[in-house]
Symmetry: C2
Subunit: 120 residues, 2 copies
DNA sequence: CGATGAACAGTATGTTCATAG
DNA sequence: CTATGAACATACTGTTCATCG
């Protein structure tokens, strides 16, 4: 058993949730996570987001489609990669989320214990 | 800012507390940590304990003395390394603990947030 | 087996670079 | 500046090996 939850797993968890809510693309989800955790002084590195997305694709949870950002191609030619769940992606994702939840609770327990054990 | 607290810092925190309470030696403190976190499925590796102790010595927080385990040398010749605070070791340790506390709370906050954000 | 230490190997992570529009 | 991807370097961790009594 590893000591703490891996950053990768933490990010994957949010990516799954964000794809559930609004089939997003990498950069957008990166910015969303940065905003969410800015107050914690945590800024997820760009490379980790893409690696996590690639892994989720590799694991058969997500698949990719490409499209141009904005409805009018004349205005913005920026190509973006949109992520969707595969046929059994939701099932796989829920299983993964369950596993992460266990680890999440375990980590919270350990850190809370450390806070009470060492600061009396 | 790193994502999560490092295992090393987590272990150092406990080592400092254990030295405060009963000038212990490496193996003993390893076993104590193992026992404390057995229910979490976490078993701190032996190498990390010693590395952490070496770093605390290197950082001028602790110094080492050697002695034979057991009062009667004829019974047990096992040599053990006892750790003590240096002159300004307590001061340094308290500063370190303060810093770790901040990080500990930050990590608990992030993990708790993740638990509420992704499991509704 | 208890006790300490070091070497080695792998992997996760952070930084930088590359490309494109 | 948005957007994606890969390369590179390294810090951290886990496993194994070495030694001693």
């Amino acid at each position: 058993m590893a000591f703490m939850i891996a950053q990768r797993a933490f990010i994957k968890l949010y990516l799954i949730s964000m794809v559930e809510e609004h089939h997003g693309y990498g950069y957008e989800m990166l910015e969303e996570m940065k905003a969410r955790f800015e107050s914690f002084g945590y800024s997820p590195p760009q490379s980790e987001i893409y690696r996590a997305l690639h892994e989720l694709v590799h694991d058969g949870v997500l698949y990719r489609t490409k499209q141009l950002k904005g409805n009018d191609p004349k205005v913005d030619f920026q190509e973006i990669v949109i992520y969707h769940f595969t046929d059994d992606g939701h099932e796989k994702a829920n299983l993964y989320k369950k596993q992460v939840k266990v680890d999440l609770d375990r980590c919270i327990g350990m850190l809370t214990k450390a806070a009470t054990d060492n600061y009396k």
